[in-house]
């Protein structure tokens, strides 16, 4: 079992408080959903093995606390992360506008400049969307991120989000092969738009 695993990837989930980071993770790892999910203390950690294109990857997922008081703890987890999932709540505009801060923090603390970023708009099962899909897509393109809309409650897009992220990381050998890490990755707007978003448009 252990031998089949191609690599272990460090994935980080960040975003404002209450956007559903822990719910996304719980849906992905345990396929459960708790509407009363309590606030994360400090950070949570889960391991899950994922198979993408026949490659098995072990994901060590660090789910950070969104609450302001735990913000001081977050920087330590950025180190060595190969993939980051930024989450916002489609029903709360402020969680979307604060994404810039998160990107800044990411820029400041992460040790690799080539890590793969994925933007997830959560809670699409809810009615009153304040951020529409096009807006999210535009933001993701601007910052060379993968993009998907998802709902932890209805399972929509959750699995896809992680799979897509892992696929992208594995396609970037410099990221997970320690010998030649540091090789810059070309993530142009076209890449993001054409490849990942295009793919998902068909899903919904």
């Amino acid at each position: 079992m252990e031998e089949d695993i191609l690599t272990t990837l460090k994935i980080l989930i960040i975003g404002e408080s209450g956007v559903g980071k822990s719910s996304l993770l719980l849906r992905f790892t345990d396929d459960t959903f708790d509407p009363e999910q309590s606030a994360t203390i400090g950070v949570d950690f889960k391991v899950k093995t994922l198979s993408v294109d026949g490659n098995k990857a072990k994901l060590a997922i660090w789910d950070t606390a969104g609450q302001e008081r735990f913000r001081t703890l977050t920087p330590s987890y950025y180190r060595g992360a190969q993939g980051v999932i930024l989450v916002y709540d489609v029903t709360r505009r402020e969680t979307f506008t604060k994404l810039d801060n998160w990107l800044n923090e990411l820029e400041t603390y992460c040790t690799r400049n080539d890590l793969v970023k994925m933007l997830v708009g959560n809670k699409i099962d809810k009615e009153n969307h304040e951020v529409d899909r096009a807006e999210g897509l535009k933001f993701a393109r601007k910052h060379s991120m993968l993009f998907i809309e998802a709902s932890a409650k209805t399972r929509d897009g959750v699995q896809c989000a992680f799979e897509e992220l892992v696929e992208k990381i594995i396609q970037t050998p410099g990221l997970w092969q320690s010998e030649n890490h540091g090789r810059p990755v070309q993530l142009t707007d076209e890449d993001v738009g054409g490849e990942s978003c295009g793919g998902y448009c068909a899903l919904f």
């Binding site: 309590s38 994360t40 203390i41 400090g42 950070v43 949570d44 950690f45 889960k46 060590a60 660090w62 008081r69 735990f70 001081t72 703890l73 920087p75 330590s76 987890y77 180190r79 060595g80």
Partner: protein, 667 residues
């Protein structure tokens, strides 16, 4: 440093009644208030637990300790009143992930307003947490030391707090008579295997045994009030219902001092503990002496007089009859039978690392009968005593608290065998904290030492001296002669094993006893100033250390002079030279190495000199001097090898002291 409320006396309730009163108010609110760590903000508590988790993961790798790691951290999370949901991430920390977060955790704790005056409360809290179940695991203490180092809390502060807590717990931990009689009854009914009986060999109807079963009387942690505040004591007391504090300190308060060996335990004649310090601590140190001399060093305690703050101190008294024999044999060998010059030469031979029976000078081989017999007897005895010590420790005669072991020469061998014995047993982890072995006449092979690391929570210091010819000589007939721990560093990739080259301090095997205060500083054991000692050792200053060496040398020389050695004058000259070299502050290169060719001459001279000089003690027969010449040719070969060796390993040898040999030949 410590807050007012923590100082002993302010709300100390020594009588159990008072303690009971304290217990009556364990309303959760009050309890929470009193455990200082629970007053911290949630993020600080998380950082605190995470820091411990990361440290545990770093300090205790391997599967043997995994249960301890998990239980300790789980307990800590509960103690801190953190949500159970943090356990997965704590598990990740334990398995070595996320250690890069230490800095962040530290800065979070430093930003905590409650800890503005320093992180001492955290450490105090951690100690209280660690002893709350009446068991202070050695690994917990190693963790606490590690964390206090990270949080910049001085070891003295930790030691002080432990002492205060220990004293007050001890006050509270007196066992009632009713309880002890009940326990005795229980013990009598128990069938014990013979080896266990030997290990426990106690007087007073085996009062001691019960504690190890963890069935000691339930006791109220009244004493904790003295240091933790009344509510803190309640927290300690109610955390497990009623805390079992007596077990911390060992059987019925008697502990090691009360330990008496059964008369007929195997081959051991004598085995008991002698207290070196007063007071009660949460940890203890057992010092094991290697041999006994006449005069100043005629007692087991004598070499350890400068041992400083390291918990309760005990000295193991063992087989004094044989150790005395060995001591006098060694002294006569070093101070009379073998000339100084020959000793110097021997030192370099041993340095070369190739020691075979052929290279030993005739004078020494002739003296073999003097030393070999007591040495062999003591080798066997020390192994036996070591195994017995393991039984004592395993049965927790010392109470459930961490033990440090320190010993030199055969004492180190006792400890070595003790650890080997412990290692062959399951569940002996967490008993021994730190170990210091000095000039250990034991196998230094990787395999043997790897085993030992399993049962030692902290560090294992191997203090060795490359030029300890006596040790090499005594080992000449043994198969392990090329791999003696006391002669060389242990080559093993383990962060816990620390090799300390004591060559600059120890010039002969006897120096392990004579220079103990200097050695203790060199290996990082806390020391204290002793009235009448040659220097103050509170701050480990290298200069002081080296200055002390010539003193020693002079005394040695004087002894030689007294032995009517005609070379006495020359030697005094030499020692003065040595002093000059030492006072320039050369680290670690206290001794002077003469030029090799001169040395060969002097060796030759020495052999012939000794013929006339040491008539009083010893006279060489014609046959022997012939073999002496034969040896010389042996030396020639050795020196070639040694030449390169020295260059590689000791770059800063001072070669400028050839004058004495010149003078010597003049004579």
């Amino acid at each position: 440093m410590e807050e007012k409320q923590r100082s002993p006396g302010s709300d100390f309730t020594p009588d159990p009644g008072g303690a009971g009163a304290t217990q009556d108010v364990p309303s959760d609110q009050r309890k929470d208030k009193m455990i200082i760590s629970r007053q911290l903000t949630e993020q600080s508590r998380f950082a605190y637990a995470a820091l411990c988790g990361v440290s545990l993961g770093q300090l205790f790798t391997g599967t043997v300790n995994s249960v301890f790691r998990q239980q300790y951290l789980k307990g800590l999370v509960r103690w801190l009143d953190l949500d159970e949901s943090v356990m997965p991430v704590m598990g990740a920390f334990l398995s070595g992930l996320g250690f890069e977060g230490s800095d962040t955790f530290l800065s979070v704790l430093q930003a905590e307003p409650l800890l503005a005056a320093g992180a001492t409360p955290i450490i105090q809290d951690l100690v209280s947490f660690s002893v709350k179940d009446g068991q202070y695991d050695a690994r917990a203490r190693v963790l606490i030391r590690h964390v206090s180092c990270l949080l910049r809390v001085s070891p003295q502060q930790l030691e002080e707090f432990e002492e205060t807590l220990g004293e007050s717990l001890r006050e509270a931990g007196k066992e009632s008579e009713e309880e002890s009689s009940r326990r005795q009854k229980k013990e009598r009914g128990r069938k014990l295997r013979r080896y266990l009986l030997i290990g426990l060999a106690t007087v007073g109807g085996g009062t001691v045994i019960g504690v190890t079963g963890g069935l000691a009387a339930p006791l109220v942690a009244a004493g904790a009030g003295a240091v933790l505040g009344a509510g803190g004591a309640a927290a300690l007391g109610s955390a497990t219902g009623i805390a079992i504090m007596a077990s911390l300190f060992g059987a019925a308060g008697a502990g090691l001092t009360g330990y008496k060996m059964n008369k007929c335990v195997g081959a051991i004649e004598e085995f008991e503990f002698l207290p070196l310090s007063s007071g009660k601590h949460l940890h203890l140190t057992i010092a094991v002496t290697g041999w006994l001399c006449s005069g100043k060093y005629s007692s087991f305690q004598a070499p350890w007089c400068s041992l400083g703050e390291c918990g309760e101190q005990y000295c193991l008294v063992w087989e004094s009859r044989f150790l005395r024999d060995l001591g006098s044999a060694m002294t006569s060998l070093l101070d009379g039978l073998v000339s100084m010059v020959a000793q110097e030469a021997l030192k370099y031979t041993v340095l070369s690392g190739i020691v075979t029976a052929l290279t030993w000078p005739a004078s020494l081989l002739a003296a073999a009968s003097v030393i070999d017999n007591p040495w062999c007897v003591c080798l066997n005895r020390s192994a036996e005593v070591g195994k017995h010590l393991a039984q004592v420790l395993r049965s927790r005669q010392q109470g459930k608290r961490p033990v440090n072991l320190i010993g030199f020469s055969l004492g180190a061998r006792v400890i070595y065998y003790c650890l080997q014995e412990l290692a062959s047993d399951q569940g002996s982890e967490g008993v021994v904290e730190d170990v210091v072995l000095l000039g250990a006449p034991v196998d230094g092979s990787e395999k043997a030492w790897e085993r030992m690391t399993r049962v030692v929570a902290g560090k294992i210091v191997n203090g060795y001296c490359r030029g300890d010819w006596l040790l090499g000589y005594l080992y000449r007939s043994s198969a392990a002669q090329l791999c003696v721990a006391g002669l060389q560093p242990i080559n093993i990739q383990d962060q816990r094993i620390i090799n300390v080259d004591l060559s600059s301090v120890v010039k002969g095997h006897l120096d392990y006893m004579r220079q103990m205060d200097t050695i203790l500083v060199a290996v990082g054991v806390p020391t204290k100033e002793v009235p009448g000692a040659s220097f103050a050792v509170l701050q480990p200053s290298i200069k002081k250390r080296t200055v002390d060496i010539p003193d020693q040398q002079t005394t040695q020389e004087r002894q030689v002079t007294e032995a009517e050695n005609p070379e006495g004058g020359t030697h005094t000259e030499e020692s003065r030279d040595g002093k000059e070299v030492a006072e320039t502050g050369e680290i670690g290169e206290g001794w002077d190495i003469p030029d090799i060719s001169d040395l060969l001459d002097s060796l030759h001279d020495a052999e012939s000199d000794s013929q006339t000089a040491i008539q009083k003690n010893f006279s060489l027969t014609a046959e022997e001097s012939a073999s002496g010449n034969a040896t010389e040719s042996g030396y020639n070969a050795r020196y070639d090898v040694k030449d390169t060796d020295l260059d590689n390993e000791h770059i800063s040898w001072s070669w400028d002291d050839t004058s004495w040999t010149a003078e010597h030949s003049d004579q």
